[in-house]
Structures are given as C-alpha cells and as structure tokens.
C-alpha cells in the first residue's frame, strides 16, 4: 500500500517538530523574558486543549455533550477537594459513563 509513504512522512514531520523545540540555542532560553513566556506556554496551551476538547465537534462546528461536561465538572469537584490526578480521572470517566448508561436517549 502506498499509504506507507504519507504515514512515514507524518512520523518524520512529527519527530522533527519535537526535536526543533528542544534544540533552540540555550542563549535564547537564558533570556528571562523568554523564560517567563515558556513557563506560561504549557498553562495556556493545555487549558486551551481542555476547552477545545470539550467544545470541538469536528469540521469547525461546536458540539457540547452535557454528559462529558458533567463528568469533567465532577472531576473539578474532586480537584477542589484536593484529590489526586487518578481520582479526578476515574471520577470524570465513571460519571460520564454512568450518565450515558442511565440517560441514553437525552442530549
């Protein structure tokens, strides 16, 4: 199958992007302004990722699934109660799965 060629190109591209970020010269990274920005990059991008995952319906459309939102909200409650990462993950997944099981027709 010729699919192999684009598969391998995608792999190489992804790897080179990762390597490029790590390979920035340390003189650039020593600048305190750059350090302040890079320390905030994961916060900005991961927060954005969370929200995009919750609202992106694919094909440039918004789509909200109230069961997922409720599940993640339950996870936030666990976070506010200072529970660890595993508890948050399990709570969010179990609440979402239970809502899907119990209220299959709605939403």
């Amino acid at each position: 199958m010729t699919l192999w060629v684009p598969v391998l190109v995608a792999c190489a591209g992804s790897y080179l992007i990762k390597l490029a970020g790590l390979s920035l010269p340390s003189s650039v990274l020593a600048d305190p302004r750059v350090q302040r920005v890079t320390s905030l990059l994961p916060v900005a991008m991961l927060s954005a990722l969370v929200c995009v995952q919750l609202v992106d319906g694919g094909g440039g459309r918004y789509a909200l699934d109230w069961r997922v939102l409720t599940g993640v909200a339950a996870g936030v409650v666990a976070l506010l109660l200072r529970r660890g990462f595993l508890v948050v993950f399990v709570v969010a997944v179990v609440v979402t799965a239970l809502l899907r099981l119990l209220v299959p027709a709605v939403g």
Partner: protein, 233 residues
C-alpha cells in the same frame, strides 16, 4: 535515590496516565483499522509519530475518504504544539547529543504537563521520563490490542471522552496557584474556543500560545492583581 512521597506520587500519576493512554491507544488502533490503515501502519504511527491527537487526525482524514497526503496538514498542525513544549522543556531536560534524539520523541502534552507540575529539577526530569516511558509502552500496547479487536470496543460508552479533558485539567491545575497563570489560562482558552469554527484543527491550541507570550512579557506589578475567582481553599 531515596524514595519520597513526591516520587511515589509521580510514579502513581505516571501509571494513571498509562492506564488512560492504553484505553486511548486502543481507541486509535480500532479507528485506524476501521479507516483503512493496516495494522502495521497503525502501530508505526503509535511507535514513530507518537502524538495522540495527530494520529487520530490522520486516521480521521483517511477514514473520511481524504487522501493520506491531505491528512498531513492537520496531522502536523496538531503536532506543532510539541515544538512549543520542547522550548519549555529544553532547560529542564538539558539533553545533549544522542540523548536529545531520544528525549525529543517523548515531548508531548502529558510529559510536558507532568514535568512542569513539579517544582524541583530532579522531580521534573523524573516526571518527564516516567510519564514518557510508561505512556509510550501503554499507548503502543493499547494500539496493538485496538487494531486487533477493531471497532468492537465502544470507548464513548466507557466515558473515555471525558478522560482527555479531565486528565489535562488535573495536570495543569497546580499552575493555577499563580494569579498570572490563571489569567493566561483563561485568555488562552478563550482564544482557542473562539477560533474553533474559523481555523483548521490544531491551530486554536497553537494560537493560545499568544496568551503566554503576552502574559510573560507584561511587566510584573509590585502587588499581585486580584484573582479572577475566589481563592481555592
């Protein structure tokens, strides 16, 4: 290295991420095979591309009848944020030469979040490597099983679509202690959500980096600005 509660917590979290990655890897494996990729190709993507959202996009475009070449656009756009993460992680990991070639492969959402959630350098590195290696193993094992079983698993019924957002939220949560980080998070999220209908997928999350640039370059005030919401107890 002496064991400590913090190290144990890092390992526990890494294993938790591994469980989630195995489930997601299985989802990807099943979707990839359903999209017309071979089992070997699905596995090659998990081994060598190793970036969940990119892989799902690739399978999605191919499965939707698009040419695999047109899949490269969304796939690489989604991979672009790993480049930004690399810039953040470079001073933490300080990897040189051949070691950097291995390190680079593991620079993804989860490893970045886990590493930056720690405060001391040693814990940051430990979190990066534990998360990266456990996730790599679980993601690939999951892909293998998923590609074998095919679409027999319904991951939505298992609530696993809530896993991604809750995992990333939990990982970024400790950073919200900084008032500026909260504003940057809010701004980044707002930018990304607003852009969802306007730009190809992958771009909204990259655009959120602008919030970090502005937040990092604005002068630090003498007294901290009031938090956007009530202080978490």
């Amino acid at each position: 290295m002496p064991p400590s509660p913090q190290r144990a917590a890092i390992i526990r979290s890494a294993i938790g991420i591994g469980i989630y990655a195995a489930a997601f890897g299985a989802t990807f494996g099943a979707l990839a095979v359903a999209a017309g990729l071979g089992r070997g190709q699905a596995q090659a993507l998990s081994l060598a591309l190793f970036s969940g959202a990119s892989q799902l996009a690739f399978a999605g475009v191919v499965g939707g009848g698009g040419s695999a070449w047109t899949a490269l656009g969304p796939t690489l756009l989604l991979a672009l944020r790993n480049g930004f993460y690399g810039v953040t992680l470079a001073p933490v990991l300080q990897s040189r030469g051949a070691r950097r070639l291995v390190t680079a492969h593991l620079v993804i959402d989860e490893t970045t979040a886990m590493a930056t959630a720690q405060t001391a350098r040693r814990e940051q590195r430990m979190a990066f490597w534990w998360t990266g290696l456990v996730l790599f193993a679980c993601w690939n094992a999951g892909t293998f099983v998923g590609a074998l079983v095919g679409s027999a698993i319904d991951t939505d019924a298992l609530g696993l679509d809530a896993a991604g957002p809750s995992v990333f939220l939990a990982l970024v949560w400790p950073a919200f202690r900084r008032v500026r980080a909260r504003w940057v998070a809010l701004a980044g999220a707002a930018i990304a959500v607003a852009l969802v209908p306007l730009v190809p997928s992958g771009v909204p999350v990259i655009a959120a980096a602008a919030a970090a640039v502005v937040g990092g370059l604005l002068p630090q005030r003498g007294s901290p600005s009031p938090p956007p919401e009530g202080e978490v107890a």
